[in-house]
Amino acid sequence: MTPSEPGPGDRPFRRGLKDALPVVIGYYSASIAFGLLARNAGLGLGETQAFSLITFTGAAQFMALNLIAAGASAPQIVIAYGLLNLRYLLMSAAVAKKVDIRRFIQRPLLAFGVTDENFALTTSHPGPVPPAYQAAVELGPWLGWNLGTLSGWLFGSVLPATLSAAMVSSLYALFMALLLPDLKKGGPWILTAASAAAVNSILELGTDLGSGWSFVLAMMIGTTVGMVLIPVDAEAEA
């Protein structure tokens, strides 16, 4: 399955919101935990909300809370933040290549909200991505992430623990649904995804490298496997 296909009378913004709905739900649930943990770590509402409003990154925000609680210095935290998010350099490049940018202002604006999840939606989109679609798959999840942060700080965990854990699984379900068409293309694609998954699991669970470097390395190694195994022509049509 792929994100919805553009048809006649396409309304890309609305289509983007529809495709991003699973991300909005997942982000809302995950960010409730962020708001709650930030409050427990002694952060004010302004500080907590500012994290979600202007950095808009999942795992890095949680890591920052750990580092703040551990007494790390500001430069240490900022550097760790950048390392954990180095993957966005590659993801943004793939998104920028895919979006049909028409006006200069769209570059700085659409760069702001690139995340793992909307990167996955955009790169799975059939054909060029209209800027309005890209805006929708960034804006919807950004709102969900910020509303969840706010309600987490104000009200704590509003969902039962098992339900909120199950809701977070929506993000992995989305990744799985987006990966499925690649897996159906055959062995080389399966090995590409599987090698990245294996390397990431080994490095993240078995070493002290940290999830930032683990992910970047896994992505590089998996892609290299794909470049060796996937025939050049087949990939051009993909």
Binding site: M1, G44, T55, A64, N85, R87, A111, A166, D182
Partner: protein
């Protein structure tokens, strides 16, 4: 907590993140980019999805004591994604399957 200025951390992190995200957007002419780089970027999403799913799908459930419940969620997602055009279907199926597995006595 020490005298750490949290707002300074937030702004510093925001600047670093934005620079990482925005730099590739100012590469305007993709036809000048070497073929090997373009090929890398078109294959990379497949690898990224693999690494996004594992081990995160399991470790995200670590607090519940039942990380294996992720198998139900991923399986339900893959199965329903095969039959449905709408992304919300596999997502709803995965949430339901994971929730059921977490509810089991």
């Amino acid at each position: 907590m020490s005298d750490l200025n949290v707002m300074a951390v937030v702004f510093g992190a925001a600047v670093v993140n934005y620079l990482i995200r925005v730099t590739p957007f100012f590469l305007s002419d993709w036809s000048k980019v070497p073929l090997v780089v373009r090929r890398f970027l078109s294959i990379m999403p497949t690898a990224a999805l693999g690494a996004l799913i594992l081990p995160g799908a399991f470790t995200s459930l670590a607090d519940t004591g039942r990380p294996w419940a992720a198998l139900g969620g991923l399986g339900a997602a893959a199965l329903t994604a095969h039959f449905s055009k709408n992304l919300i279907v596999p997502v709803a199926a995965a949430v339901a399957a994971t929730w059921l597995l977490l509810q089991l006595p």
